[in-house]
């Protein structure tokens, strides 16, 4: 064992170790700050590209805040003597001497203590120069190259992007506009079709007694549905027939005679202005009211009907051009096409050429068949007999 070179060898070593550890922590903080800077710049550039803001200065201010936080963290991580001694014991050949020395007492006081302490102080002082050399030879890569390059690239990209004229991407066609372009525009009914609708509505009105105005009904017993005139019914009552009631009428085995039904492949909604006092153009929902169904559920469901709550536009849907998947995805057709396919005993592929929800073609000479007329009469009689 060599004599100690100097009493200050161990404290100097520990101070050097503390400086090294602090530098390493500062490097860690700098790495984190650089990565944060690069992320902020990239994010700001992306946001600026889309929204036209923020500006470069705002992003730089955010990055500077990240830098400040990292440096503040590094400043608070100053290693103590015990930590430095542990580092020297572990990595600089200290063999636990420095930490033992710190725990046992001051280095100078140890000389006057027990033999073990004296021996330890001598041992540590003799080992300190070698540990100092080991510390100088120990190179820990700072690892700043990659984050520095990334931060630089991010800054350049952000500067370039933010220097562009602010034309946000939202100036392009909005999704709503695009959708509007894809959806067929509603077409007003032609004059002939309006006339046909009026005629058919008037015919249906003659089949329904005047004391049952404005109520469509459905007999849940056999599933047959009759689309009643909507709105105030009577000889002089304006009539509104909705496409919804028409679709309801044609579902299953029902028979429908809807006014204003368009031709093949078209689902139509027709609105005919009514002159009902106080409620112009507004008709009760079909199937609503106390006659709307035998069960409580039917009555409750009818209250939420949206049919003819106001003027409606006619939407043409070109079903011929749609494939099977599109038709299945069409919410307007979802209640009908399966029933049609099942009723016909056909596979979906066989149904493909024909629109499942297509209402029967409206013909001027369309009239109720004798069977249908008899059914309506029977229904009217039953209604009159009811208390």
């Amino acid at each position: 064992m060599n004599e100690p070179t100097t009493d200050a060898a161990v404290p100097a070593l520990l101070a050097a170790v503390a400086r090294r550890l602090w530098r390493e922590r500062a490097a860690v903080a700098a790495r984190a700050a650089l990565w944060a800077w690069a992320a902020i710049m990239a994010g700001a550039a992306a946001i600026h590209f889309v929204a036209g803001r923020p500006g470069f200065l705002a992003a730089a201010a955010l990055g500077a805040a990240a830098w400040l936080a990292a440096l503040a963290w590094a400043a608070m991580q100053r290693p103590g003597r015990a930590e430095s001694a542990l580092y020297a014991d572990r990595f600089l050949g200290g063999a636990s001497a420095y930490s033992t020395l710190l725990e046992a007492g001051a280095t100078t006081a140890a000389r006057d203590g027990a033999p073990a302490l004296r021996w330890l102080a001598q041992w540590a002082a003799a080992a300190a120069p070698a540990s100092r050399r080991a510390l100088e030879a120990r190179r820990v890569p700072s690892g700043l190259v990659r984050p520095l390059a990334t931060a630089g690239i991010g800054t350049v990209v952000a500067a370039v992007v933010m220097a562009l004229p602010a034309e946000p991407l939202v100036a392009m066609d909005s999704p709503t506009a695009a959708v509007d372009g894809a959806v067929p525009q509603a077409e007003p009914l032609s004059l002939d079709e309006s006339l046909l609708a009026e005629t058919l509505a008037a015919e249906l009105a003659t089949r329904v007694p005047p004391d049952d105005p404005g109520r469509g009904s459905m007999d849940p017993a056999d599933g047959a549905a009759v689309a009643g005139p909507l709105g105030t019914m009577g000889s002089d009552a304006p009539t509104a027939v909705s496409a919804a009631s028409a679709r309801q009428a044609v579902s299953g085995d029902s028979v429908a005679r809807g006014a204003g039904l368009t031709g093949a492949g078209e689902a139509a909604a027709v609105e005919i202005d009514g002159d009902r006092p106080g409620q112009p153009g507004v008709a009760p929902a079909p199937g609503s009211g106390r006659e709307a169904g035998a069960s409580r559920d039917d009555a409750a469901a009818g209250e939420g009907s949206r049919a003819l709550q106001g003027p409606m536009t006619v939407v043409r849907r070109e079903l011929h051009g749609m494939d099977e998947a599109d038709r299945r995805a069409d919410m307007e057709q979802s209640g009908n096409y399966l029933d049609d396919a099942a009723a016909a005993g056909m596979t979906p592929s066989a149904v493909a050429p024909v629109a499942p929800a297509r209402p029967p073609a409206a013909r001027r000479e369309a009239r109720l068949s004798p069977v249908e007329a008899a059914y309506v009469d029977a229904w009217r009689a039953a209604r009159q007999e009811a208390p």
């Binding site: 064992m1 542990l86 014991d89 063999a95 636990s96 001497a97 930490s99 033992t100 020395l101 725990e103 046992a104 027990a114 033999p115 073990a116 302490l117 021996w119 330890l120 041992w123």
Partner: protein, 333 residues
Amino acid sequence: MNAAPAGEISFADAQRRLLEVRALLDSVIVGQQALVADLVTAVFAGGHVLIEGLPGLGKTHLAKALAAALGLQFSRVQCTPDLMPADVTGSEVYTTSPGGASSFVFRPGPVFAQLLLVDEINRATPRTQAALLEAMQEMQVTHAGACHRLPTPFCVLATQNPIELEGTYPLPEAQLDRFMFKLKVPFPARDSLRALLDVSLDREPADTLAAIAGPDEVLVIAAACRSTLLAERCKQAAVSLVLATQPDGGDAASAARQHLRYGASPRALQSLVRAARVRAVMAGRSHVDVADLEAVARPVLRHRVLLRLESELDGLDPDAVLESVLDEWRSRT
């Protein structure tokens, strides 16, 4: 080693004497440097040693050489199944004094020595083995209500043969725990075998070995070793090592969880630190390092951990498991 040392010795002198003893034993026990270092460590740490090796590897020779080098009173017990406890501890005999008075007098057994070699200890019956328990732990023998102190220093070197297990009585865990070290005698290397011919072909070197120390000096050096400093880091490391062998503990090493049934006892922790202190003095330090703990970990722990039956059937050795435990422990400290 309860007696106070006769005097003080500097750490430099303690280190020198320890190295001299090692060098002397290395000269007669050829090619077993690690074994000799461990043996010297255990003796100066006040522990007992269980030596396991094949016949003919020089176990008895090593014990005799150690006793000769340290100038210790040597005694030997050859264990057989019919060995009785009184044959080890001693017995009372009826004697008549020259004046005509007759009385029972305790005649000490071979255990009353400073270095006791218990050869093939696993051939003795459990009753006889148990007779050694009190001597090893309490450093005393109680006979007929009277307590007889053993001389100091007192060290038991027990040997056992890992083969020919028929008719043997494996040592119970409680007795195994009394041994500070379990040392394995490896087969010598080729050069060592060649050197063995020059050293011990026509003579028994242990018989002519001159003592370079005495019992008092052994006690003084042992006291110096006990005064070495132990930092908190090393204490924590020792505790972590013992906890790493506990298969059910939260700090258990993965190998311990997988292969061990029981881990090391708290007595193992004490043995670990005491032996590490001697190693530190051997290295010329008055403080213990984590490396000292690691150097003595295998001989301290290998007989204190119990393998799972599955691992045992897989041919695993406690040393292999301890190696994995030490690897994990090293990364933690």
